[in-house]
């Protein structure tokens, strides 16, 4: 009975008539005092339900079917609800993924942290406020006294997550369960939060169960690692063993899919390659509409950006949220109208075209979107979605459907599935449909806006390979927008780094990753988790 938290043969049943019967099957884990155990898995692995089971906060219809769960020897599953409530927050605390929705929007931060003490202690108001202030100071919020009085929407994402961590630390719990706590954050913020978690955990000796999908984060923070797939634990061991000498084929395939953080070797573009797309001095300002035209504060989303995409090459635009990279992509596609600047596709200036002329030109430049769930009309069949573009541009229906069929094969989907609706496909498959839709118009330029960001790492690797392959075969030029530097390193010839609407650095991928000139680029690169770890070259299983 040495382990602080001991999970044995845990089985959790899902509601009947679902995809599968069990969310967790025979999971055994142990967590010791003072260590960080990372539970890694892709979506559907059951890792988040593991957190819910430990807290005994499972959604209705999902129930523990077997096994036991002991905290310092005490069986949590056998406790009455009232006793379990005394454990939640006080002995096991939790940090959630999305700090915006995890905090009550209508109550002040100090009030929400103070609630921890009000529930579990008999401290006075003044004492509670003092403790909350100390906690906010400890998680290094810039102005803890102001943060105490702030509402969640008045803090940034990183500050909210710090407040969330302060709340979890309040009663000095034995165990902290952190469910993807940095997934919703920008990479520089993520680095700060990871450092904070590591530091606090070291100083207090708290045990942390850290759930994540990101092997970079694992390499950054884990003492031990447990890998989950389809509700089962497939491998566990020390961080060093699992990361560098993975035993299970699934772990090996996951690690093989993690892109290394240096520019992939690519044949250089022939010198003098002409630019297919030129972005010249583009600026876009958002104005919050005020009453009677009294303008609210202005945001310069894109500020005087000039870039060019060489024909047949890939230009990556990287940056954190709010850097203006997606706004720029939407300006290029004329989904937004910039105030100034020109966008030249070959010899055509796109922004000055009248609407009808622009509609005729759309086939030359197409876009792949981020969200595989929102980018396909749920009421149209996959085949129609792909054939829609050619039909709009005057291709007869039968020919367009034939083109759709050919494209389905090209992007690795079964032509039999042309008649199915989007919800019948997985996320990766939907992204392939989106790709087929864009390719159906045989564009010269493909704009990919975070096209692989919503996908699991193994699916992401497949789609990236597909993109690179198609680019070679079809002679496509790619404008690739991403927040993920590892992904950008894999696919881009040139990289532009954006911050606050400006391009701060632009150069070849080798140059930007190998010898960054800009201070911000260096910070960005230094923030990517797990840099010290070079994913071992492991034979990937087919």
């Amino acid at each position: 009975m040495t382990a602080l938290l001991a999970i044995r043969d845990l089985t959790v049943r899902l509601p009947p008539r679902g995809d599968r019967d069990f969310a967790l099957q025979g999971v055994s884990l142990s967590l010791d005092r003072g260590e960080i155990l990372c539970v890694v898995g892709e979506s559907g692995s059951g890792k988040s339900l593991l957190a819910g089971t430990i807290m005994r906060l499972l959604p209705p219809g999902i129930a523990v079917a077997g096994g036991n769960l002991r905290l310092a020897g005490e069986d949590l599953l056998a406790l009455p609800e009232a006793a379990m409530r005394r454990i939640r927050g006080a002995r096991i605390a939790m940090i959630f993924q999305e700090p915006m929705t995890a905090l009550n929007p209508l109550r002040r931060i100090g009030d929400q942290i103070g609630e921890m003490f009000r529930i579990h202690t008999r401290l006075s108001r003044a004492a509670i406020e003092e403790r909350a202030l100390a906690l906010l100071t400890e998680v290094r919020l810039p102005d803890p006294r102001a943060a105490l009085q702030a509402y969640p929407h008045e803090l940034s994402g990183g500050q909210r997550q710090r407040a969330m961590i302060a709340m979890a630390l309040a009663l000095e719990p034995d165990v902290i369960v952190a469910d993807e706590p940095t997934t919703a954050l920008d990479v520089t913020t993520q680095a700060q939060i990871l450092a904070l978690v590591r530091d606090l955990q070291r100083r207090r000796g708290t045990a942390v169960l850290f759930i994540t999908h990101d092997f970079g984060v694992v390499a950054e923070i884990a003492d031990r690692v447990a890998v989950m797939q389809h509700g089962r634990l497939v491998e566990s061991g020390t961080a060093d063993a699992v990361l560098n000498r993975p035993g299970h084929p699934y772990t090996r395939s996951l690690i093989a899919a993690v892109p290394p953080l240096h520019a992939a070797p690519r044949p250089p573009l022939p010198p003098g390659t002409p630019a297919v797309l030129r972005i010249e001095g583009v600026s876009k300002t958002y104005r919050r509409s005020g009453w009677f035209g009294r303008g609210g504060p202005e945001t310069r989303a894109v500020a005087d950006v000039t870039l060019s995409l060489p024909r047949g090459g890939t230009l990556g635009i990287v940056g954190e949220s709010g850097s203006g990279k997606s706004t720029l992509a939407r300006c290029v596609m004329r989904l937004l109208r910039p105030e100034t600047g020109r966008i030249r596709l070959g010899d055509t200036e796109l922004l000055s075209l009248p609407a009808t002329a622009w509609r005729r030109e759309t086939h030359r430049i197409q876009m792949v979107f981020q969200d595989p769930y929102a980018s396909l009309n749920p009421r149209r069949r996959a085949g129609d979605l792909v054939a829609q573009g050619p039909i709009l541009h005057g291709v007869p229906r039968a020919e367009a459907m034939a083109r759709a069929r050919a494209l389905f094969e090209l992007v690795g989907l079964s032509p039999d599935s042309l008649g199915r609706f989007p919800h019948e496909f997985s996320g990766g498959q939907r992204q392939r449909i989106g790709l087929a839709r864009a390719l159906a118009l045989r564009p010269e330029v493909l704009v990919a806006d975070e096209a692989v960001s919503a996908l699991d790492v193994s699916v992401q690797a497949q789609v990236l390979r597909l993109l690179a392959d198609l680019q070679k075969r079809l002679g496509l030029s790619l404008l690739f927008i991403t927040h993920d530097l590892r992904v950008a390193a894999q696919i881009c010839d040139r990289i532009a780094v954006m911050r606050d609407g400006h391009v701060v650095e632009e150069g070849t991928a080798e140059q930007v990753f190998g010898a960054p000139r800009n201070e911000y680029t260096r910070t960005l690169l230094a923030s990517v988790p797990g840099q010290a770890w070079v994913p071992p070259v492991v034979a990937e299983l087919a």
Binding site: P15, R334, L335, E361, Q366, M367, L392
Partner: protein, 277 residues
């Protein structure tokens, strides 16, 4: 499972459908069961229900057959409900779609008009319209449709506002699709379900508005509206309260049926509520 299947498995929707069928059956059978004018004098006034087999629901204070008035009244209520709802929802969808899709000054202008209707109590506006244009049944129906569109416009606008920012609509624009096509063929089918559900509420309200108007003697006196009968029964409320009670129950059943069908549709179309224990 299909939407229809889910609808029929839902007790609320099923009961509503049965009640609605009952009302429709009453409306359809009226001309054959009571071919004569329901407003003519049929017998001795104020006979209680179940006392004279010729008048199962009795007679009112002017000697009209209440059963005949109820059956013919079903036709009036359903007709007014349907026409007014169709009008109101059509205006609402058109206004909401344009405002939500185009935003900017189009949205400002259209929503300002909707706000005008919101500032005026709709029943008062209805009174004004009746005072100006008269209380002929067609006019009343149009007036009801006219005063009740802003809510469906708001609903449609809200749906369009969220849908137009969805990536699949952006994708349509990058494919070179025209606005009209995007509005009608891509957004509208996705925006329609909540509006259809809301049409149930509009219809219920329309029936209630007409009956209130008729009760106040401000609707068409020449049609057998249930509200008219309740208003007439007011004079003999002290003793022969059944004259008012019976048509009121008819309104209640009809409005209940429409609301239940709406709720059943809502549950069937709204996937979020599915699978809740």
């Amino acid at each position: 499972m299909s939407t229809l299947g889910r609808f029929l498995r839902n007790p609320a929707g099923l009961i509503g459908l049965l009640l609605l069928l009952l009302v429709v059956a009453a409306a359809l059978s009226a001309p054959s069961l009571y071919p004569d004018d329901p407003l003519r004098l049929a017998g001795r006034p104020l006979q209680w229900p179940l006392t004279n087999p010729r008048f199962p629901l009795g007679t009112d204070n002017t000697g009209r057959d209440i059963a005949a008035e109820i059956l013919h009244g079903a036709r009036i209520s359903l007709a007014i409900g349907l026409v007014a709802t169709l009008l109101s929802v059509t205006i609402g969808i058109a206004v909401g779609a344009l405002a939500g899709y185009y935003g900017g000054w189009v949205d400002d202008a259209l929503m300002r008009i909707a706000e005008m209707f919101q500032i005026l109590p709709n029943f008062l506006l209805l009174l004004v319209l009746v005072a100006v244009f008269g209380s002929e049944i067609g006019t009343v129906t149009l007036a009801i449709g006219l005063v009740s569109w802003p809510a469906s416009a708001r609903l449609t606008r809200a749906e369009f506002l969220t849908l137009r920012q969805r990536e699949f609509i952006e994708a349509c624009r990058t494919l070179g699709m025209r606005d009209a096509q995007i509005i009608l063929r891509e957004i509208l089918p996705n925006a329609l379900p909540p509006v259809i559900v809301y049409a149930g509420v509009v219809m219920a309200t329309a029936i209630l508005l007409e009956s209130a108007l008729a009760f106040l003697n401000l609707s068409d006196p020449n049609v057998p509206s249930w509200g008219n009968l309740i208003g007439a029964g007011r004079a003999v409320l002290r003793v022969q309260w059944y004259v008012s009670a019976i048509p009121g129950l008819a309104i209640l059943v009809t409005v209940l049926a429409v609301s239940l069908v709406g709720q059943g549709l809502n549950d069937a179309l709204n996937p979020r509520l599915r699978g809740r224990p």
